[in-house]
Amino acid sequence: MLRVVGAIGRSLVIAFGLAFLFVPLIAVFTALTPRQAFADLATPVAAAALLLSVRTTLAAMIAVVAVGTPLAYWLSRSTFPGKRIVEAAVQMPVVAPPAVAGVGLLLVFGRDGLLGPVLASLHVSIAFSTTAVAIAQAFVAGPFYVVAARQAFDAIDLDLIAVSRTLGASAARTFWKVELPLAAPGMWAGVALSWARALGEFGATMLFAGNLPGVTQTLPLAIYTALDSSLDVAVAMAALLLFAAFALLLLIRLLDWGGGRTGRRERTLDVARLPISQTAA
C-alpha cells in the first residue's frame, strides 16, 4: 500500500518536473498561428532585430572559432604548471552572471575603461555600438566552443598523430590532415552550442551595448521591448528564437550521432550535455 502511494507520488513529481520544463516552451509555439506569427515578424522593428542578431552572432562566431581553435588546441596538447587555473579561467564566462560580464566589458572597453584612452586615440568607440553586441556575444558564448573543441582534440588517439609523423607528414601537415578532420564533428557541435548561447545573449548586451533599435537591439532585447507594446510581436519573435535554438540542438545531436561512427561518441556526448544544462543559468 505504502509502496503504491510512493510510486504514485514519484510519478507525480516527475510529471510536474517535465511539465514545468516543457509547457512554457510549447506555449510560445501554440500562442500564435504560423500565419499570424509571420505577419508580426514582418514589422520593421522585428525584421531589424532579426537581421542584427544574424549579423552580430555570425561575426561573433567567426571571431570565436578563429581565436578559440588555437586556444583549444593549446589547452589540449600542452602541459605547464598552473594549467588548471587557465582552464578554470577559460570557463569563467560560463558561470559568471551575464550582468557581471556586461559590467566587466564596460570596465575594459568603455570610455573610462582600461582600453578607453587607446581606443579614443584611434577614434574608435566600442561601447553602445553594433561591435559591442558582437563582443558581448563572443565573450559569453566563446567558452562553450573552446571547451567543446578542446574535448574534440583531447579525444584524438595520439598514436594517429605519431604514425602520421613517421609517414613523413610534418606537424603542420598532421594537424590539417589528421587532427582537424577528426576533431571537426566535435568542433561543429561546439559551434552550434556556442551559437545558440550567442543568439540568446541578453544581459551583457543590455549593459555593454544598450538597446538601440537597428544598432544594438537584437532579438532577445526586441522581445523585451515589444512586451510593453504588443505581446503578439514579442511571442512571434520568441517563437523564432526558440525555433533557431531547437534547430541548433538538433544539429548537435546529429553531429553527436555522426561522431559515434569514428569511435568518439562518449566525448561528443559530454560536449553536448555539459553546456546545455548551464545555458539555462
Binding site: 598514436d159 613517421t166 609517414l167 607528414a169 590532415k177
Partner: protein, 329 residues
C-alpha cells in the same frame, strides 16, 4: 644497418639500448613495461633520449651530444603501432596513400596498388578501417608503412591485437612479408614464441637492459641469466651436488623425470607440485623447491591423476642434459 646506442631515464629504471640491426629482423622481447616500446619510440624520433646516438646507413638520426635530432617525418623509418593506428576518417586506399604526397596522381595510385598487392589486400581499398578484421588492419598498417619505402621498419607488438585463432597464421605471413621487405626490422614482443618465429635474432630485454642477444636456439640452450631462462621456458637452478661450489645449471622441461624417491643422481632437487597444465599429449608439471621447475611428462605416464598439487617429488636430470650457465651478471 641500423645502429642504436642510447640511454634514457625512465621512472623506475634506466633504458640502456645497444643494438646493431642489419638487413634482418631483430625481435626485442621482454615483459610488458620493460622499456621495449619506449626504445622503438626513441629510434623513430617519437621520444627523446638522455644520451647516445642512432644512425641508419650513412645518416645520423640522433646524436644527443652533437645536438642532432632528425624529426620523425625525415627519418624514413616506418612504424607499425600495436593497435595499428589506422586513420578512422580515411578509407583503406586513402590510409595507404597517406604518406605518398609530392607524387603524381598516377604514381600514387600505382604505389597504393602495389602496396595492397604486397599485403594481399586487393579489392578492399574502399573499405573503412572499422569494417576490417584485426589481421586486415595489420596488413593495411603494414602496407601504409612500406609504400613510403622506409629504410627501416619498427613493429610494436604486431600480434598483440589479434585473435588467438588467427595469430599463428598471421605470424607466419608477417614473417614472410618482413623477409621480402629486406630492410632492417625491429619487432617488439612480450612473447618468446612470437619472437622466435618472427626474429632472425632475438634480443631479450629486462628492465631497460638487454640481457642477451642471439638466435632463439642460443637463448634457449644457454640462457645468460634467470630472466632469459624464464622467457624461453628453460629451467634454471642451483646444483649444489658433490659438496663442490654451487653452480647455476639449465635444462629443458622435457629432459627431466619425476620420481617419488631420490635416485641419488647428481642433478636432483626435492620439490612440491604447485600446478598441472595439460599440453596435448604432454602434461606440464610445475614444481617449487629451491627454484621453480617445469617438467613435461607424457600424459599416458601421468595416467589418472598420477600427480596432484601438493605431492612431494624429486626432479632428476641426466648429466648430459645439463647445461652450465657460465657468466651470471
Amino acid at each position: 644497418m641500423l645502429v642504436c646506442r642510447f640511454r634514457k631515464q625512465l621512472p623506475e629504471f634506466s633504458l640502456d639500448v645497444g643494438l646493431d640491426v642489419g638487413t634482418e629482423t631483430l625481435a626485442l622481447v621482454g615483459r610488458s613495461g620493460g622499456g621495449k616500446s619506449t626504445a622503438l619510440r626513441v629510434i623513430a624520433g617519437l621520444a627523446a633520449a638522455g644520451e647516445g646516438t642512432v644512425s641508419l646507413g650513412e645518416r645520423t638520426l640522433l646524436d644527443v651530444a652533437a645536438g642532432t635530432n632528425v624529426a620523425p617525418e625525415s627519418r624514413r623509418i616506418g612504424f607499425l603501432f600495436q593497435q595499428y593506428a589506422l586513420f578512422p576518417h580515411l578509407t583503406v586506399a586513402e590510409n595507404v596513400a597517406f604518406g605518398l604526397f609530392g607524387l603524381t596522381r598516377s604514381e600514387r595510385h600505382a604505389r597504393v596498388h602495389r602496396g595492397l598487392e604486397f599485403v594481399d589486400l586487393r579489392g578492399r581499398d574502399r573499405a573503412r578501417p572499422d569494417e576490417l578484421s584485426g589481421g586486415e588492419r595489420q596488413r593495411v598498417a603494414l602496407a601504409r608503412a612500406i609504400v613510403t619505402e622506409p629504410d627501416a621498419l619498427l613493429l610494436d607488438e604486431p600480434l598483440a591485437a589479434l585473435d588467438v585463432e588467427n595469430r599463428a597464421r598471421i605470424r607466419a605471413e608477417l614473417r614472410a612479408l618482413l623477409k621480402r621487405l629486406a630492410v632492417p626490422c625491429i619487432v617488439v614482443s612480450h612473447d618468446f614464441d612470437d619472437a622466435r618465429v618472427l626474429g632472425d635474432r632475438i634480443a631479450a630485454m629486462d628492465r631497460g637492459t638487454i640481457a642477451q642477444i642471439g638466435t632463439a636456439a642460443d637463448l634457449a640452450a644457454r640462457p645468460a641469466n634467470d630472466f632469459v631462462a624464464a622467457l624461453t621456458g628453460t629451467n634454471v637452478a642451483d646444483a649444489a651436488s658433490n659438496g663442490s661450489a654451487s653452480r647455476r645449471v639449465a635444462f629443458d622441461p622435457w629432459a627431466a623425470t619425476l620420481a617419488v624417491a631420490p635416485s641419488g643422481a647428481p642433478y636432483e632437487w626435492r620439490c612440491t607440485v604447485v600446478d598441472l597444465r595439460p599440453l596435448g599429449s604432454q602434461l606440464r608439471v610445475i614444481l617449487r623447491g629451491t627454484a621453480e621447475f617445469k617438467v613435461d611428462v607424457a600424459s599416458a605416464q601421468a595416467g589418472q591423476s598420477q600427480y596432484k598439487v601438493g605431492d612431494q617429488l624429486f626432479v632428476s636430470v641426466p648429466a648430459d642434459a645439463i647445461r652450465m650457465i657460465e657468466d651470471l651478471p
